[in-house]
């Protein structure tokens, strides 16, 4: 029994790491721009589809490097074309805009790549389990966790040590003052959106390697991201990190005892957090309220 629990705990951390990647991108966009990007799941899908297109030319590794960059560029373009027009208005408009954008992107994916699921080839070296005992941990999962760790560390380093990063952090706390200090807030928002999209694209490539591609793949992943953010606390990236890991582990552990409820448990956690600590685990009182 202990062994089974340990197996599942490890598995939960792996799944949780993936949720973290998804949720961080979404969180960054919410924190700075107050925009809930409903199309985030579709950016993820796009990242996967870009990788699918690139793999025949540059292989999996090349696709892994280039595809998130393409997604970031795409996100930047969307932000410039569409989203920046609605910052000054009532928040309902940004929600509706990204909602509609999600529809458009999903249909575009269906149109170009078809409704049937497509496989993304991953290198054979990654498809094997790491040891005979730990048969359920394939090298691909280890690789995923490694990528997430690198990406998250990179993100936090970016936010802490680079100028743009510092400005973004300052902006999430008080955008008006940042603007008054002479920073180009519009550009800042665009970069921030691009970074968020980069993370979505990266998550997309990783997901595609694991579960294959289809136009709806983002839909199932967007809810756990929302919940990770709510549980961790809106406004706090560390909170999102914890939130993602928490729900990943909770879902995995529930599968040991009562598999049918493994999806339900993340909603239960969210409900409990909302009742007992509405600002989330690491959220700040007054943040976005």
């Amino acid at each position: 029994m202990f062994q089974v629990v340990m197996f599942n705990l490890t598995n939960g951390l792996i799944v949780g790491a993936f949720y973290v990647l998804m949720a961080l991108g979404l969180s960054m966009i919410i924190n700075l721009s107050n925009v809930v990007n409903f199309a985030h799941g579709n950016f993820l899908a796009l990242g996967g589809y870009f990788a699918f297109m690139l793999t025949p030319y540059v292989g999996f590794w090349g696709a892994l490097l280039i595809s998130p960059l393409l997604t970031a560029v795409f996100g930047y373009a969307i932000e410039q074309l569409l989203i920046k027009h609605v910052y000054a208005r009532n928040h309902i408009y940004s929600l509706l805009l990204t909602f509609g954008l999600g529809f458009i992107l999903q249909d575009v994916c269906r149109f170009f790549w078809g409704p049937s699921p497509l496989p993304l080839g991953i290198p054979d070296s990654l498809s094997t389990p790491i040891t005979a005992d730990l048969f359920f941990i394939t090298w691909y999962r280890v690789f995923m966790v490694a990528v997430v760790i690198v990406a998250v560390s990179g993100l936090f380093a970016f936010l802490k040590y680079t100028r743009v990063g510092m400005r973004i952090r300052a902006g999430t706390l008080d955008l008006d003052t940042v603007s008054a200090l002479g920073v180009n807030v519009a550009a800042l928002r665009s970069y921030n959106f691009a970074v968020g999209s980069y993370l979505a694209g990266l998550a997309g490539v990783l997901a595609a390697g694991q579960i294959g591609l289809n136009p709806n793949m983002g839909d199932d992943l967007i809810m756990p991201s929302f919940i990770a953010i709510i549980v961790g606390g809106v406004g706090s990236l560390t909170g999102t990190l914890l939130g993602g890991l928490l729900i990943g582990v909770a879902a995995a552990l529930t599968t040991v005892f009562y598999p049918a409820a493994s999806e339900a448990v993340i909603y239960v956690i969210m409900a409990v957090v909302l009742l007992l600590r509405p600002r989330g685990l690491l959220g700040e009182e007054g943040m976005l309220s």
Partner: protein, 318 residues
């Protein structure tokens, strides 16, 4: 009567004239009575939602939860308790309304994006319960095995079960009643307070108005009406399913409201006409209808944020 009031009465009169004669003119435009029923149900849901959005200024993005709960409440009542349409509608309205009232208690201190996110999450919880508890609710396949029952008033019967036209007028009657109640609400002192909260919450607070209580009340009332719309939806389809609860339905309700004009009383009705007609027409023309619907959303947000009715209104900025 000055011009403005005459204008308002004229609009109302025209709208009612059109609604009452739908079965006669709709088929000429390639419509069918069930389509009109669907428009009215969505219009009602959107108008109820608009009490919150357009008239109190609060952004809930999970309103489909109450819509769906209304549908399930009505369906479950018809299936497991008794085949009485009015009682089933009451059951549905109560289920959705009470859920909303309780949930509202949790929410009143939040605003803006956080409020929206939490309402989305609650909507998804309801969606999830509906689809998981499949012994009771029929789960993923939806709740079936019930049908709207004819209305028996003793002396005469209105067969809404088999007669589509009769059912349309029934929906219209309920819609009319809801609209009248909502209009009274908006004209009352409570309604004025709602507007005050929308315009400037801080100032309203300084005037001594209990803001949180008013928001909670507004939220609850909105949920009750939305649940009523939901029970009509169950009667329209003789079916209730989890997709009536999820965030896509919520998004559609918001879009209908915005598209028609969220500052106008009849805005959501116009929005419902546009949206249902668009969806119906485009999805028959091409399988890429999602693209066009999404494009419409984006265009409305960018170019027509005040909606169709908003184009006729002067003054107020969003």
């Amino acid at each position: 009567m000055n011009a403005l009031i005459r204008h308002k009465y004229a609009t109302t009169a025209i709208i009612w004239a059109l609604l009452l004669t739908v079965p006669y003119w709709l088929p000429m435009f390639g419509g069918y009575t069930a389509l009109a029923g669907r428009v009215l149900v969505f219009a009602m849901a959107a108008m109820s939602f608009n009490l919150l959005l357009g008239f109190t200024g609060i952004m809930s993005f999970g309103h489909a939860a109450y819509f769906g709960l209304g549908a399930y409440g009505c369906g479950l009542f018809l299936k497991y308790v008794t085949a009485s349409t009015p009682l089933a509608m009451l059951a549905g309205t109560l289920l959705g309304g009470i859920a909303g009232t309780l949930f509202g208690l949790l929410l009143v201190r939040r605003r803006g994006v956080y409020f929206a996110m939490v309402t989305i999450a609650f909507g998804q919880v309801c969606f999830y319960i509906a689809y998981k508890w499949d012994d009771f609710t029929g789960g993923y396949d939806g709740l079936r095995g019930f049908a709207r029952a004819a209305l028996d008033f003793g002396a005469f019967k209105i067969d809404i079960a088999n007669n589509s036209t009769a059912f349309y007028f029934f929906i219209l009657a309920v819609f009319g009643l809801a609209a009248i109640l909502q209009a009274f609400l908006l004209k009352s002192p409570f309604g004025r307070t709602m507007l005050a909260i929308r315009e400037n919450e801080r100032r309203a607070r300084f005037l001594g108005l209990p803001i949180e209580k008013h928001i909670w009340l507004s939220f609850s009332i909105s949920c009750f009406f939305t649940a009523l719309a939901g029970s009509l939806y169950a009667l329209l389809n003789n079916f209730a399913d989890p997709l009536g609860l999820n965030y896509i339905m919520s998004g559609n309700i918001v879009m209908i409201t915005v598209m028609g004009g969220m500052r106008a009383f009849w805005g959501p009705l116009i929005g419902a006409v546009l949206f249902v007609a668009l969806q119906d027409y485009v999805s028959s023309m091409t399988t890429n209808w999602m693209f066009f619907v999404g494009l419409t959303f984006v265009c409305v947000v960018l170019f027509f944020p005040r909606g169709l009715m908003g184009m006729f209104q002067k003054g107020a900025r969003t």
